[in-house]
């Protein structure tokens, strides 16, 4: 039987699940107070306890998983006037990936 071509929704869903998987795997043995589950509103710093080097490692893990080296993570961690953001939600991370991994759809 011929495989059905993945739809845009499938791509968004699988990207979302990939991000959740990476975050769960990465933080599974961290000693934090976070009781989960990891959802779109979960904050990397205030909820999951990320520090700056953890964000670098997350960037590497995402690039490895999605097989895309050179994602512009500086856009995610800084504001337009060049200041560092205090925190990033999983939802913001997902939107960043959907925007930058591939230009799926100009309307996205």
């Amino acid at each position: 039987m011929a495989a059905t071509a993945p739809t845009l929704d499938t791509w968004r869903q699988t990207t979302h699940q990939g991000v959740i998987h990476i975050l769960q795997d990465m933080t599974s043995d961290w000693e934090t107070d976070f009781a989960g589950p990891i959802v779109s509103d979960t904050c990397l710093v205030s909820d999951l306890g990320f520090c700056s080097i953890d964000i670098v490692q997350l960037a590497i893990a995402l690039e490895e998983f999605f097989e895309c080296k050179g994602l512009p993570f500086q856009q995610l961690v800084t504001t337009p006037d060049g200041k560092y953001v205090d925190d990033i939600t999983v939802g913001e991370l997902l939107q960043f990936l959907l925007r930058n991994l591939k230009q799926l759809n100009p309307q996205t």
Partner: protein
Amino acid sequence: MGCKTILLGLDGATYTILDPLMASGDMPNLKRFMERGVRATLGSTPNPLTPPAWTTMITGCLPGRHGVFDFIQPVESDDGFYFKLTDSRDVQCDSAWTILSNQGFTSASLNFVLTFPPRPFRGLLVPGWVSGRHMRRAVQPPELFDELKALPGFSLKEVAWDLDMEKKAIQDVDPEEYEPWIECHLCRQQQWAAILLHVLQNYSCDLIAFVDDGPDKLQHLAWPYLDPSCFPREPSERDLRIRELCRAYFQSLDRLLGEVIAHAGRDARIFIASDHGFCGTRKIFYINEWLREHGYLRWREDAPTNESEDIAASRMKTQYEMLDWSATQAYSPTPSCCGIYIRQAGGARKAGIRPDTYEAFRRKLASELLAYRDPDTCQPVVRGVMFRDDAFPGPYLNLAPDLTLQLHDHSFPSVVKSNLVTRDRKAVTGTHHPDGILLAAGEGIRKGAQVERCSIQDVCPALLYSAGAKIPAGLDGVLPEHLFESGFLECHPPVFTSRTPFLTAAASVGSAAPDDEETADLVARLKAMGYIE
């Protein structure tokens, strides 16, 4: 178990420190090892720095070909300036363990820089420079991590890389902190020693390669306590305690060597090598301030002036924010790159050098650097300036600084804003010297010989040859035959392979939409992990 070939990498080890320690009886195993083997000076990479130097040692290729020049890579884009940390994906040549794996051999790579995220090879990997939270994902195969955690006394916190502790090697350490800081490195060394001995005793590998990074850290901070010529004539109680702790570190290292020799087996060949040497420095050269003084760089008005002995801002971003990019033609992003990047003008970028004047500009810059004299001593500050196409030939030379400097005392320049171009430090501190060490002993190695100098890129072919593997013909390094007995070479002539040392080009971000195959591949990987039905 046993191992044919062992590389004990000692980060920053130098005969300047090791010879007195051997003479004083603090390192008897190293002394005996040297007496039954060969000793050579090992010339490092043009910028003798941990990431490019270790990468050259384990790939047999020079930085212009393997693509690693510094801990970070500066990037200038339409979004502005930023930097990225160098990682294993930036290494563009196969390591010795990958070359061996491709030929069916097994290796263990322990505590090497730029080995994370892991690249597949046949054997064991415990990467260096990985923080504790990420070590579980870094160790390969994954079950090895549980084995290590079960070792008596294992402490992930002590094994792992700690950025704040690393920074203290070069600045921000209060004298009161010296003793606990050295003790911390001693604990760390013993943790890694336990890992090495566990692998040596429980696995059969054709190559075990291990790095002890402590000598570099101690020598940066505690050089006056290690170099007998710098030690105070009338030492305080604390001076004496710090010196004893430094000696304890090297004594511990020597005991590890003794255990490795005992466990390695009679047929093993052991190589001891450092990525660079070390020496003392008392001067600070403020390279960006020099560029400002000569009209090539402008600080932002709100950039703070640093009057301490710091050579870098506390954060890279702070460093970039101090510069007025609209009026900066050339700059140095990090002390460790020991160089200057020249900005190219074009498009929207007004500041910078036009391509047609680039050659004249860099020659003028080099000439002015070489002519510069220390205002206090009237002596040259810069002893050499290398253009990148001379220092780093290869496909990745465009990632290198346009100019690489050799300062008169081998120090790293400061990149912060200062009201001086040169400054005397209050006390001598340690810095990298281009001459490291190479010792080797074992079957087929010459005995008791001081041999002519080798280059760091020659270590990889030596390891491959010792392990019985074919040597890729395209390496920059050559087999240092003078380490081996002529009879051994005749009986075991080196075999070469035409296989290229280069990796397949790394995947990069594309601009096209993902095709169905790519999306399906991602879906398949998530299904395989049980995340979607």
